[in-house]
C-alpha cells in the first residue's frame, strides 16, 4: 500500500497532497523534489521513476508536465504503483477534460474527492471513471484549451483532419454540451509509434511498431460495441527467425503480441477478429500491440558527412517521403550531432521550400532541421557547410551522428492494421451516434547512422 500521494507542479509546488497512512513525514514532497531536480548517481543524470531515500520509497510518473508521486515504506510492487499513478492521472483527465497545472489547481477539491474514492488507507479501491461518477459531486471547472500547449494524443489530430471537432477529446465525461444535451459520439484512435534504425548503407537494422487502439466513448446508456480488425490478422508468429525480415507475407498483418483492456470480450476474436465490449466511460486502451514484421518505413533518409578541405566538411541530408501524396506528414524535426570542434555551420536548402527552419545549436553541437510538413512522394535536401576549429585526423563518421528524425503522420498507419467496422448496438432506428476512427503514426526512434 502507499503512504502518501501528491501532485507537484514543475516548480515543485504541492497542488494536491493526500496522506493516507501517516507513516512518512510531511516534508516528503520537498525531499522528493530536491532529489529529482538534482539527481546524481550511477552515471545516470536523470532520476529513475523509483528511488529510495532514508527508507522511504518514492515512485513517480510525469504526466502533462506534472509529477504524480506516491511514497511508501514497504516493499511494494513498483508496477502496481506506477499503473495506479498513471490511472489516477487518466481519471483526473476524464473528469477535467484537460489535464494541466491550471485545470488541476482550479479543480483541486474535485481531485480530493476523486482521491478519497480511488485510494483508501493506501490501497487502491475504485478506479473506474464509470463507477466513480455516482460518488463524485463536485462539478468540474473547465479551463480553456486554446492558449494552452496541446498535450497527449489529442493534439495530434488538430492538424491534418479538419472535420474533427477540436474539443471532442478534451471534454469532461461529466460535463454537458452548452445546449444541455450530450452529444452521442465515440472515438477510436489507432496510434502507432515506429522505431527504425538504418545502417550507414541504408539497410534496416531493426524496426518495430508499437501500437495502441484508444477509445473514448461519450455514448449514453453504454451500448455494446463490436470492433472488427483485419480478418487475416495473425498474432504471435514470428516466422522462423527472430526477425522475419524479407519474408514476404502477402499483405497479412502479423503482430508479435498484444494485450487487451479488461472490458474486452475475446469470444469471437479467434474466429473473425472482432472485439466486443461495453465501453466504460473515459479514455482507455482497447488493445496494445507490438509488431516486428517488415514494413515500409515512411521516410527514406540518406545522410552523409565528408571532408571538403582543411578544417571544413559538408553534410548532406536527403529525405524522401515514401507514402501516397494524399497524406501529409507534419512537425518533422531532424537532428544530427556534429563533431565537437565544429564552430560554424552554413545551410543551403533546395529551391522552393517553405516552412523550413535550420539551426546549429552551439551548446550541444547539434544541427537541427525542421519542416512544417512533407507531402507524400516529395523529396527534400539539406546541405550544410561546416567549419572546424581544428583539423580532423580521424574518421569523421565516428565524430558525428547518428541522425535522428521525429515526425507525425495523420491518417497513416505503418502496420496496415485496420478497424474494418465499428458497430454500435442500436437502441432505436433514429440512434446514429458519431463515430470517429482515426489513424496516426508517430516516430518513436527513427535513427539513421553515418
Amino acid at each position: 500500500m502507499i503512504s502518501q500521494f501528491f501532485v507537484l507542479s514543475q516548480r515543485g509546488d504541492n497542488i494536491v497532497f493526500r496522506d493516507y497512512r501517516g507513516e512518512v513525514s510531511k516534508g516528503s514532497a520537498e525531499i522528493f523534489f530536491r532529489k529529482v531536480k538534482f539527481w546524481k548517481g550511477d552515471d545516470v543524470d536523470e532520476a529513475p521513476p523509483v528511488f529510495n531515500v532514508d527508507g522511504v520509497n518514492y515512485v513517480h510518473v510525469k504526466v502533462a508536465g506534472l509529477l504524480f508521486v506516491a511514497t511508501t515504506r514497504i516493499n511494494i510492487s513498483p508496477s502496481l504503483v506506477l499503473e495506479l499513478l498513471q490511472r489516477i492521472a487518466r481519471i483526473i483527465k476524464d473528469y477535467l477534460g484537460i489535464l494541466n497545472e491550471d485545470s488541476l489547481r482550479k479543480n483541486f477539491v474535485l481531485v480530493y474527492e476523486l482521491l478519497d474514492e480511488v485510494i483508501d488507507f493506501g490501497y487502491p479501491q475504485t478506479t473506474s471513471t464509470e463507477v466513480l461518477k455516482s460518488y463524485i459531486f463536485n462539478e468540474p471547472i473547465v479551463v480553456e484549451n486554446a492558449h494552452l500547449p496541446n498535450l497527449g494524443p489529442a493534439a495530434m489530430f488538430v492538424q491534418g483532419s479538419k472535420r474533427m471537432p477540436g474539443t471532442a477529446v478534451t471534454k469532461s465525461v461529466v460535463s454537458t454540451e452548452p445546449g444541455g444535451r450530450k452529444r452521442e459520439e465515440i472515438f477510436v484512435d489507432i496510434i502507432e509509434k515506429i522505431s527504425v534504425t538504418f545502417s550507414s548503407s541504408g539497410y534496416i537494422l531493426t524496426s518495430e511498431i508499437d501500437g495502441t487502439i484508444q477509445m473514448k466513448s461519450y455514448l449514453s446508456g453504454n451500448p455494446e460495441i463490436r470492433l472488427a480488425l483485419n480478418e487475416d490478422l495473425r498474432i504471435g508468429e514470428r516466422g522462423g527467425s527472430s526477425h522475419g525480415y524479407g519474408s514476404s507475407t502477402g499483405g497479412v498483418v502479423i503482430l508479435d503480441d498484444c494485450n487487451f483492456h479488461e472490458s474486452i470480450h475475446l469470444d469471437s476474436f479467434d474466429v473473425d477478429r472482432t472485439l466486443s465490449l461495453v465501453p466504460p466511460d473515459g479514455e482507455f486502451s482497447v488493445m496494445n500491440y507490438r509488431m516486428t514484421q517488415e514494413f515500409k518505413p515512411p521516410f527514406h533518409v540518406v545522410a552523409l558527412i565528408e571532408e571538403s578541405g582543411s578544417c571544413k566538411a559538408e553534410v548532406t541530408i536527403k529525405v524522401r517521403a515514401d507514402f501516397p501524396s494524399s497524406i501529409t506528414a507534419n512537425t518533422i524535426k531532424i537532428q544530427m550531432p556534429l563533431p565537437a570542434y565544429t564552430t560554424r555551420v552554413s545551410f543551403e536548402l533546395g529551391s522552393g521550400v517553405a516552412g523550413n527552419t535550420t539551426d546549429f545549436k552551439e551548446a550541444t553541437k547539434k544541427l537541427e532541421w525542421g519542416l512544417k510538413k512533407i507531402v507524400g512522394g516529395s523529396e527534400h535536401t539539406l546541405r550544410a557547410k561546416l567549419t572546424f576549429s581544428q583539423d580532423s585526423h580521424v574518421n569523421l563518421t565516428k565524430e558525428a551522428g547518428p541522425v535522428n528524425m521525429a515526425f507525425t503522420i495523420p491518417m497513416y498507419n505503418a502496420s496496415r492494421l485496420q478497424v474494418k467496422y465499428l458497430q454500435i448496438a442500436k437502441k432505436s432506428k433514429a440512434y446514429n451516434p458519431y463515430r470517429w476512427v482515426r489513424y496516426v503514426t508517430q516516430s518513436n526512434s527513427y535513427v539513421i547512422r553515418l
Partner: protein, 841 residues
C-alpha cells in the same frame, strides 16, 4: 502556490513561505459568521470558504486553529461540503484530540443516514480520526458497517477494521473483528468487499505475528487451498488492483501436487494478456515460483512470458516500461541462454532515458554468446561513439565485460584498441581500465595491447581509474614497454600534482615492479618515489612507501617475490552479487527489490516487513549445519576478494601475496590493513628496521591502544548443553515470540574478520563452544547469523541474532532467552567464545 487562494494572488504572485496567519484569522471570523446561517446561498459561501481552507492545508499552512469553526459549519446536508469537512477533520483530528470529540456527534449521526453513501463516507472519516480516546464511539458504527446492506458501506468498514487495528490492536482483536472479516471475505457477494477483507486480514495478522502465535495459524489459513481456490474462482470479478492482491497471495501458496499447479496456471493463463503490467507481473510471479522445481515447465514459462513482457516494455509509458524492463532484466540474468536470440529487443533507442539504456546494456552483456557476439559488439561500438557520454562509457564497459566472459575475444580486442584511436578522452579512459582487466585474464594479448597503449600520452589521461590502469600496465609490462621507466619517472616528478591517492599507490607499486625488471634505469625513479611516498600526507600512501622501503632493506629478493610474484591469469572475475542475494531478489519478484537490485532487508525497516517476508528470510538463509566445509582453492579466494572489476589492483595483489609468495613469512595477515597500520604506527622510532610480526604482540598493542578490541575474559560459569535440540521452524516461532532480552554491540578481532572471508568459519568456531548456528546469510561486509544454545540439563534456550560488519569489525548481538535471568551470563559466555574467534588459526 496554493490552488487559487485569493489573498495570496492579490498580494504577491509567489510568496516564498507565507505564514498565512492573518489570512487564517480572517477565515476564522468569516466561518464563524457562516456557522449558524441557514440563509439561502450560505452553502455556496461555505463551499468557497472550505475550499480556501483546504488550499492552505495543501500547501502546508497550519489551519488546525479553525477546527471548531469548521465543525460548527459542517451541520449541512450538502454532500460536497460534508466531504470537504471530512477531509479537513481527518487531517487535523490527530493533532486536536480534544476538539475531535466535537465531530463525533455528527459523524455518528451520519453513520445512520438513509443514504448509504453518506453512511460510508462518515464511517470512513470516523475510522480515519486516529485518536485513541474516541475508540469507544468507533466500535459500534464499525460493527454495524460490516453488516450493512450496502456494499459500499461494507467495503469502507472492512478497511475500517484495519484502521482500528492501527489505532488500538487490542480493541480490534478483543472485539473479534478479524473473525467478522474472515466470515465476510468468504461470503460477501461484492468482490471489493472481499478484497478489502483479505488485505485487512493480511496486514493485521502480519503485524500480530510478532506478538501472538495464533497469527501464524491465521496466515496459514489464508494460504489454505480452500481460501486460495475460492479467491481464484472469483478472480475475474475483482478489479485489476484486487487481482494483484489475490495473485500475490497465490504466489505464497504451496500447491499440493503438480495437478494443483497446472490447474492454477491454466486458470490464470489469460491474465498474461492483461493490459495492466501489475497484473501481468503478479501472474508471472505465480508461474515462476510454482514451477521452480520443474525445470522443463519453468523453462516453458520463460518462453511464454517473453512476448507479453516485451509488449509491456514497448507500449507503456517510460516509467512503466522501466519497471517491467527491470523484471525482464532479472529473468535475463538468470537465464541468458533463453534470451540469446532476442538480443535486438535490448538495443537502445535514441530517445530512451539513460536508466533504461543502462539496464539494456547489462542485458546485452549477459546474453552475448558465440552466436550473437558479433552483432552485439557492433551495436555497442555504435553507442561508444555516441554523444551521450555516460552511455558511451557504459557501452565500452559492456564490450569489455563481453570480452571477459568469452573465449573468442580476438575481434573484441581489436575493437577495444580502436577505441583508443578515437581520441576522445572519456573513451580512452574507459578503454584503458578494460584493457588492464583484459590483460589480467588474457596475458597472451599483452603484445598487441602494449603496442597501442604505449602510444598513449599520460598527459591526456586525467581520470584516476584510467591513470591507475595505465600505470599498472607500465609496471606489469615494463620489460616490453621501452620507455616505461622514463614515463614512470616523469610521473613521479609530478608527484605533488597528482591528487588521487589511488594513482600514487599504483605509482609506488609500478615503480617497484619496474625496478625489479630494469634496475639500472629505474633506480633513480624508485628512490624518488619512496622519498615522495614517505613524505606523503595520505596515510595509505605513506604506509605503502614505508613498507616497500623496509621490505627492500630486509631482503631485495624477498621483496621481489612479494611485489612481483609470478601471476596466474584470472580465470573468472566474480560477480558483484552473490548468487544467494540474486536468489533472494528473485524470491521477491514483482517488488521494489527488483528495481533496486537489492533484497528487501537492505532497504526496508524491520517493522515494515511483514511476518510472511520475515519467515521467508529465515527460510532462505542457508542452514549452517547443512553446508559442507568446502576447501576453497587459492585462486578462488583471490577472486572472492575481487568483488569489483575495477577494484584497485594493489588491493588484490596484497591479498594474493601471502598465498603465492609469502610462505616464508610468519605474519598471519599482513594483508589486513588495520593490523599493519597499527604495527607501523606504534613503532615510529624503530628507524625502519625489520618490523617483527607476531600475532601475540600485535594483540597486546591493540589492547594498549584501547582500540576496543575485546579483551578476553575468563569463561563464565554458565554450562551449555553440547547439543542444543531445536529445529529451525521452532527457532523461528520462538524468535518471533520472545522479546529481546539483551542487545550488545562490540568489536571483533581483526583476525577474526579476516577469517570471515569464508563466513562458515564463525559457525564452526562457535560450535566448539556449544553454540549452534541455525541460519546464516548476507553478503560482505554485512553478514548475519542466527545462533542457538541451550542451558545444560534444562529446557531453557538462548537465541542470538548476530550481525557482523566485516569492514568496521563490529558486531551487533541480540539475545532472546526463555529464562531472562541467565541471559547476562550467557552473553558473557558468547562474547568469550567470540573473542577467541580467529585466534585458533
Amino acid at each position: 502556490m496554493a490552488p487559487n487562494p485569493p489573498p495570496f494572488s492579490q498580494k504577491s504572485q509567489s510568496p516564498s513561505q507565507p505564514s498565512g496567519k492573518s489570512e487564517v484569522t480572517d477565515l476564522k471570523l468569516q466561518l464563524r459568521g457562516l456557522a449558524g446561517s441557514r440563509a439561502p446561498g450560505s452553502d455556496d459561501k461555505k463551499r468557497d470558504m472550505f475550499k480556501r481552507v483546504l488550499s492552505y492545508m495543501t500547501v502546508g499552512i497550519d489551519v488546525s486553529t479553525l477546527f471548531s469553526e469548521m465543525v460548527m459549519c459542517s451541520a449541512t446536508s450538502d454532500v460536497v461540503l460534508k466531504k470537504m469537512c471530512y477531509l479537513y477533520v481527518g487531517n487535523y483530528a490527530k493533532s486536536n484530540p480534544d476538539l475531535s470529540l466535537l465531530t463525533i456527534n455528527f459523524l455518528q449521526r451520519d453513520c445512520k443516514d438513509v443514504d448509504p453513501m453518506i453512511r460510508g463516507l462518515a464511517l470512513r472519516c470516523l475510522c480515519s480520526l486516529r485518536v485513541e480516546g474516541l475508540l469507544e464511539y468507533l466500535v459500534g458504527p464499525l460493527r454495524a458497517g460490516l453488516i450493512d446492506d450496502n456494499g459500499y458501506v461494507r467495503m469502507v468498514a472492512a478497511l475500517g477494521v484495519l484502521k482500528l487495528y492501527n489505532i488500538s490492536s487490542a480493541t480490534c482483536i478483543d472485539g473479534d473483528f478479524p473473525a467478522m472479516l474472515k466470515n465476510l471475505m468468504l461470503n460477501d457477494p461484492d468482490a471489493q468487499v472481499v478484497a478489502n477483507c483479505l488485505l485487512s486480514l493480511q496486514e493485521i495478522w502480519n503485524l500480530e505475528a510478532a506478538v501472538s502465535e495464533d497469527a501464524s495459524m491465521e496466515i496459514e489459513a489464508l494460504l489454505s487451498k480452500k481460501v486460495v481456490y475460492y479467491l481464484l474462482n472469483r478472480i475475474k470479478e475483482f478489479s485489476e488492483w484486487a487481482q494483484c492482491l489475490v495473485l500475490d497471495l497465490v504466489s505464497k501458496y504451496t500447491p499440493s501436487d503438480n495437478n494443483d499447479i497446472f490447474d492454477i496456471m491454466n486458470l490464470l493463463e489469460d491474465r498474461l494478456q492483461h493490459a495492466n503490467s501489475a497484473v501481468v507481473l503478479a501472474t508471472i510471479k505465480v508461474f515462476l515460483h510454482m514451477t521452480l522445481s520443474m525445470t522443463d515447465v519453468h523453462q516453458q514459462v520463460y518462453e511464454r512470458i517473453k512476448a507479453p513482457l516485451l509488449t509491456l516494455v514497448s507500449t507503456g509509458s517510460p516509467e512503466l516500461s522501466y519497471a517491467v524492463l527491470s523484471h525482464l532484466h532479472i529473468l535475463v540474468m538468470r537465464a541468458p541462454m533463453l534470451f540469446s536470440s532476442d538480443y535486438k529487443y535490448f538495443y537502445c533507442q535514441y530517445n530512451q532515458p539513460s536508466y533504461v539504456k543502462k539496464l539494456k546494456l547489462e542485458m546485452l552483456t549477459a546474453i552475448a554468446n558465440d552466436s550473437n557476439t558479433y552483432e552485439i559488439v557492433t551495436e555497442l561500438c555504435e553507442y561508444a561513439a555516441n554523444v551521450d557520454v555516460p552511455i558511451a562509457r557504459e557501452s565500452i564497459r559492456a564490450v569489455g565485460k563481453i570480452a571477459l566472459q568469452l573465449y573468442d575475444v580476438n575481434a573484441i580486442v581489436d575493437r577495444l584498441l580502436q577505441f583508443l584511436e578515437m581520441e576522445k578522452d572519456h573513451v580512452t579512459a574507459e578503454t584503458l581500465v578494460l584493457v588492464k582487466d583484459l590483460l589480467r585474464k588474457y596475458p597472451q594479448w599483452s603484445h598487441d595491447c602494449i603496442a597501442v597503449v604505449g602510444n598513449i600520452s599520460t598527459k591526456n589521461i586525467q581520470e584516476p581509474k584510467a591513470k591507475a590502469s595505465l600505470i599498472w600496465m607500465l609496471g606489469e609490462y615494463s620489460q616490453d614497454m621501452l620507455d616505461a621507466p622514463y614515463v614512470l619517472e616523469s610521473l613521479i616528478e609530478n608527484w605533488d600534482d597528482e591528487h588521487s591517492p589511488e594513482v600514487r599507490l599504483h605509482l609506488l607499486t609500478a615503480v617497484m615492479k619496474c625496478f625489479f625488471k630494469r634496475p639500472p634505469e629505474t633506480q633513480k625513479a624508485l628512490g624518488a618515489a619512496l622519498y615522495a611516498g614517505l613524505a606523503d600526507s595520505h596515510q595509505d600512501v605513506h604506509d605503502r612507501a614505508l613498507f616497500y622501503y623496509r621490505l627492500l632493506q630486509y631482503d631485495a629478493s624477498k621483496a621481489e617475490s612479494v611485489v612481483n610474484p609470478p601471476k596466474k591469469a584470472v580465470s573468472v572475475f566474480t560477480d558483484t552479487q552473490s548468487s544467494e542475494i540474486k536468489d533472494r531478489i528473485f524470491d521477491e519478484f514483482n517488488s521494489l527489490s527488483v528495481i533496486y537490485q537489492k533484497p528487501s532487508y537492505m532497504f526496508t525497516d524491520k517493522e515494515h516487513r511483514g511476518m510472511l517476508e520475515f519467515s521467508e528470510e529465515l527460510g532462505n538463509l542457508s542452514l549452517g549445519a547443512e553446508t559442507t566445509d568446502d576447501v576453497v582453492a587459492d585462486s578462488q579466494i583471490y577472486d572472492a576478494s575481487d568483488n569489483d572489476l575495477l577494484l584497485s589492483t594493489s588491493e588484490k595483489e596484497e591479498s594474493k601475496a601471502p598465498l603465492s609468495g609469502g610462505s616464508a613469512y610468519s605474519a598471519p595477515n599482513y594483508d589486513n590493513a588495520s593490523s599493519s597500520l597499527i604495527a607501523t604506527d606504534t613503532q615510529p622510532e624503530s628507524h625502519l628496521g625489520l618490523p617483527t610480526y607476531n600475532p601475540q604482540s600485535n594483540l597486546a598493542i591493540d589492547d594498549l591502544l584501547g582500540l576496543g578490541l575485546f579483551v578476553a575474559p575468563s569463561p563464565p560459569p554458565l554450562k551449555l548443553s553440547p547439543k542444543p535440540a531445536l529445529d529451525p521452524a521452532s527457532f523461528q516461532k520462538k524468535w518471533a515470540k520472545l522479546a529481546v532480552s539483551l542487545s550488545k554491540e562490540c568489536s571483533i578481532d581483526p583476525k577474526g574478520v579476516a577469517t570471515l572471508s569464508t563466513p562458515q568459519a564463525l559457525p564452526r568456531h562457535m560450535q566448539d563452544h556449544s553454540i549452534q548456528c541455525i541460519a546464516s546469510g548476507g553478503q560482505h561486509p554485512n553478514l548475519k547469523f542466527f545462533f542457538i544454545a541451550q542451558k545444560a540439563d534444562s529446557p531453557s534456550f538462548y537465541l542470538v541474532e548476530c550481525l557482523v560488519n566485516t569492514s568496521s569489525a563490529k558486531t551487533q548481538l541480540k539475545i532472546k532467552a526463555d529464562d531472562n535471568g541467565n541471559s547476562e551470563a550467557f552473553l558473557s559466555l558468547f562474547l568469550f567464545a567470540l573473542s577467541k574467534f580467529g585466534q585458533s588459526l
